[in-house]
Amino acid sequence: MKSTTDQHEVVKPVKHDSRGIARAALWVVAASFLFGFAMVPIYRIACEHVLGIKMSAEAADAAQVALMTVDESRTVVVEFVASVNSKLPWTFKAEKSRIEVHPGALTEVWFDATNQSAGAIVGNAVPSVAPSEASPYFNKTECFCFTAQTLDAGESRRMPVRFVVDPQLPKGTTTLTLSYTFYANELETKQLAFAQPSVDGVAKN
């Protein structure tokens, strides 16, 4: 008990290094603020490597896909779902609503998009696979979702998707759904309208 020797502290109630503690705490605060933003990439990494949800819209590694052997003993149903966001005046559909594939086999399917408006529009397709557990086993080697698509007024486009279902797909999964939702890319559409003013009065602003 040293309390009896502490008389001098009466005049200086704030003692020791409270400011030091506050400074240390502020570092924690700054770190966790940054951590909030860091969760964006961390979440993607965790999803892909721990939980196994494919987040990126990038092409699968071709070398890896080439190594896959076709599993003839097994068929998996792949369904195709095409959606258009209601702000985008396009139609968009899959040519086939479903297909049966052997895991490991490279398969090509086609989607059709038509711009029904009177001006050129840029759209982006957002892919998603259900069930989410199966998404890491779904490898796309070519997809219109990798880049923005520009359709002129009334233009139609036939677009391929080439994919391989990984033979490692858990046995319990017999049906996969590949979904694409097309969204208007408002920024690029605006830039497009600015660069090439169209006669039919596409909104410039």
């Binding site: 008990m1 040293k2 309390s3 502490d6 008389q7 502290e9 009466v10 005049v11 109630p13 704030v14 003692k15 020791h16 290094d17 409270s18 400011r19 503690i21 506050a22 705490a25 502020l26 924690v28 605060v29 700054a30 966790s32 603020f33 940054l34 951590f35 909030g36 933003f37 969760m39 964006v40 979440y43 939980l51 196994g52 949800i53 987040m55 819209a57 966001n85 982006n124 957002v126 259900a130 069930p131 989410s132 557990e133 939702t181 969204y183 208007a184 890319n185 408002e186 920024l187």
Partner: protein, 540 residues
Amino acid sequence: MAHAAVHDDHHDAHDHKPQGFLHRWLFTTNHKDIGTLYLVFALVMFLTGGSMAMIIRAELFQPGMQLVQPEFFNEMTTVHALVMIFGAVMPAFVGLGNWMIPLQVGAPDMALPRMNNWSFWILPFAFTLLISSLFMPGAGPQGGWTLYPPLSLQGGNSVAFVIFAIHMMGISSIMGAINIIATILNMRAPGMDLLKMPIFVWSWLITAFLLIAVMPVLAGAVTMLLTDKYFGTSFFNAAGGGDPVMFQHIFWFFGHPEVYIMILPAFGIVSEIIPTFARKPLFGYQAMIYAIASIAFLSFIVWAHHMFTVGMPLGGELYFMYATMLIAIPTGVKVFNWVTTMWEGSMTFETPMLFAIAFVILFTIGGFSGLMLAIVPADFQYHDTYFVVAHFHYVLVTGAIFAIMASVYYWLPKWCGNMYSERWGKIHFWMSVISVNVLFFPQHFLGLAGMPRRIPDYNVAFADFNMVSSIGGFWFGASQLLFVGVVIHAVYFSKNRATSRVWEGARGLEWTVPSPAPHHTFSEPPKIDNSMLAHGDVTH
């Protein structure tokens, strides 16, 4: 409060001596004054948020839309939650921490008194900003307090006001938390070892660490919302390659620790009150601390149990289910320890004890429904129904709010020097405890029968229990006016002077100073005597 001025004594020579009402309260750096400010602010916000709840319950009194438009109903549910969480419960706990932590650890004041002043005075501005958004053209926030995009980004600019308000509340909470950490780590009287500190201080220390760890994450999440709306980023916007679910992950990484921020100090309060009125040391002091610490740790790894229906992969659902179920273990330890503290005690049932006992029972009921909600297949049914509404109101109203009321009755005589009216305190207690169950218990039934939460109108099959619940709501709301009356009476009119010990079984440093506590206390560090500690002698 006028009484304090009477007791300002010679110590004030070194301090900003109170000079006039505005000057005193605006510039105060005294932990007791700031604690009072926080508590008064929390009470005002409690009544504000409560009025919004009354509007909600009035619209839900019977099927059909009678009173308000659905937009306004959604504003009420959104702002009610924000006001109650950030305006009532959290400031009340910070106020209690400000008042009691220096008194309980034998410190003359908080470690950073000027920052203390700022952290309080930010709050009125933050809530003015939040509430003003209700009166803006284009209407107030309607997306729920969880602010899930894309919904929260629809509508007008009110979302910007809400986000800035949340930033300010966050800065306030962070400064308050830093102050509490510095005070506890640095300002303890000699001999007040960490493992001799009252449980309330321990619970606040752990809560403060949670606060500085997660409030910035919320700030980050709402900043991303802001940039998504105004600066063209696509963190959460599917059209731009973002992911709306990611907001939920970040939000609940904050949100789950946040719900413990609102309950851990309540655990501390109840761990102070039960030994006092059982006249027996707290059972398992160290186990209580470990339990609080493990609950705090677990709170960081269970967030996605708020999102079982977003379509997580199976592995994720199982992990979050198991981790969530683990929380039941330390929470169970705490409940068992409280019950064992009562066993072979010598109990009396003054108002603080009544509220503490109601806390133990009703919080445990909230914990039970929490355990049920952890079970993923069952949660597929419970999620976003009134079952969840019942669950979190049991843990927050009969949990956090009841603990705050218990602590006000417990420490009010120390604050103002007068005893409250025990008779009216008990009337307030019984009114509250009965009405709160009439209010929230039927909501379990509504949820199980299939009523989603956050709807302004419902099928006639839900009518009966909604009416019961609304009656309970009005009754509970009216009962809280009694509370205001009891507090005003005790502060200004009560003739019943409190002794310095106040309660026969009270232990701890705060009871060694006179009642009311003088403006400055422990200018000389007190001597710590183990027999004075609420949890008895921990050395044996």
